[in-house]
Amino acid sequence: MAWLAAGLLFWALGWWINHLLAHRPRTTATRLAVPIIFGLTVIAIWECLVRGLGISPVLLPPPSQIAARFATSTAILWEDFVQTALKGALTGYIIGCGAAFLTAIAIDRSPFLQRGLLPVGNFVAALPIIGMAPILVMWFGFDWQSKAAVVVVMVFFPMLVNTVQGLAEADAMQRDLMRTYAAGYMTTLLKLRLPAAMPFIFNGLKIATTLALIGAIVAEFFGSPVKGMGFRISTSVGQLALDLVWAEIVVAALAGSGFYGLVALIERRITFWHPSQRSRI
């Protein structure tokens, strides 16, 4: 009962602080503090609820237990991270996004191919591509190569559609200006159209980061060597070691947000001129 009361208290406290902070003028500090306080409140309430209601750790372990498990099994978690995130997801991400980018440049000179590929690409991007996973695991074997292949297939079409859209972004006036400078196709591409396409390309790259991790993890459900995040999750669920599962999820969340943040950071450096990146006053 005391735990439940504590949970209620934490909830009221967190909401009260955030309410005060949110109604002050917005600064960088409050913009960071408010979501962090919200997250900490949720974790505190989780802990109190699990202890107060006596929920079995087999169903939902409290955050403290997950943290303890995380600290004791860093070796396993690191091995899984290397196998899934670095070997599977990252390799596939680079190959897939690179291939999509090159394809977009290649079909750039042919409006016919663009009109044909864009609707098909849009259609394929809406399909449950993840279903290709068992087939690709069958073709490329159980190790990380098949995971990379799944990631390639998953990120290719969103990236292609975004890049093609971005390359069409420079308007007629700007292209005319390049022509009056006697700029050839390559110069126009490098100096005008690729920079103008950057916001779209980065949008594709950001969507692809999440898809890449999902693809690599889910592909492991269809067969993998005895390491990897997807493998660990599906076997630990079978052993009812849910604290390890949650520790893997923490790793996945950290990897996902870190990866996304990195791409967003590069985007801010490269597309500093775009209205959405300028500092808001």
């Binding site: 169903l59 009109r115 098909v120 087939i135 889910v218 893997e248 947000s257």
Partner: protein, 290 residues
């Protein structure tokens, strides 16, 4: 015609590539078989063999089409459309959890978006987490959600629908927040000069002007919730649904079965997204926006 021709060309090219790849990938097995029978294969024999193997590495399109017809149309003609071997039955299972998850996700997404637009505290504390929640590869915990909810006694449709819901609420929140904020300051001022109450502003200005954003995000949400339903079916021990067909096919090396389940899933996705597209066009035309 100007728009159809390029698309047709690309589709024909994909089929041509598919048939060629089938020859290339299945040739090894065909040669192996011929060697054991101690005969050599001519080119035409090789091609017909690679296009008609029992468990090919890559089945040819007509084999997949035949399998789909056998498990849908033919069974429906025999009056066994909902037998457990029929793809119609499995598609129905997947569709029902997709639809439930999609409805729950849309409801949650719209509710969160309204909260975020009208409450400053929620805007600052929840919005960053909504965005962060999508960088977390949530599909990874799909099996756990299913197992845990099963242990609590919730089984069947709801656990799968929860996964679909989690995947589909995000595009709705983001799209609706953008849409509800799309009226310009001038329009909001106009509402104020008319002494409109907050609920009147909501129903007559904010909600109608959010509709184009709403439908665009519904399309993404529908595709996402189908993926959620399929992945949610994987750990249920391959009982029913298109995801279960995929898993069973990969256990037993039934490539034709995998491909037919995959194509059914693609058709389902196309139908559902197309349906929302039609609804979008009708609604927006009725509202004078399209």
């Amino acid at each position: 015609m100007k728009r159809v021709l390029p698309i047709l060309t690309v589709v024909v090219a994909i089929f041509a590539l598919w048939y060629a790849a089938a020859v290339w990938l299945n040739a090894a097995w065909a040669y192996d078989k011929a060697e054991r029978a101690e005969r050599t294969l001519s080119i035409s024999e090789l091609v017909t063999d690679t296009w008609s193997q029992d468990k090919p590495k890559l089945p040819a399109p007509h084999q997949v089409a035949a399998e789909i017809w056998k498990t849908t149309g033919e069974m429906a003609l025999n009056g066994r459309a909902f037998s457990k071997r029929s793809l119609i039955y499995h598609s129905w299972i997947t569709f029902s959890s997709t639809a439930l998850g999609f409805l729950l996700g849309t409801a949650l997404g719209v509710a969160l978006a309204i909260g975020i637009v009208y409450n400053r505290t929620m805007d600052m504390s929840v919005m960053p987490w909504v965005i962060a929640s999508q960088t977390i590869p949530i599909l990874a915990i799909a099996p756990m959600i299913i197992v845990v909810l099963n242990a609590v006694g919730i089984s069947g449709l709801l656990p799968k629908a929860m996964i679909s819901m989690y995947l589909s609420f995000f595009p709705v929140v983001v799209g609706m927040v953008k849409g509800l904020r799309s009226p310009s300051a001038m329009q909001l001022d106009q509402m104020r000069t008319w002494n409109a109450s907050p609920s009147q502003t909501f129903w007559r200005l904010r909600l109608p002007s959010s509709m184009p954003y709403f439908f665009t995000s519904l399309k993404i949400a529908m595709a996402a919730s189908l993926v959620g339903a399929i992945v949610g079916e994987l750990p249920t021990g391959a009982v029913a649904g298109l995801g279960a067909r995929l898993l069973a096919g990969s256990y037993y090396g039934q490539t034709i079965q995998i491909w037919s389940a995959l194509l059914m899933a693609a058709t389902l996705a196309a139908l559902l997204v197309g349906l929302i597209g039609v609804l979008q066009r009708l609604t927006l035309r009725r509202m004078g926006m399209a």
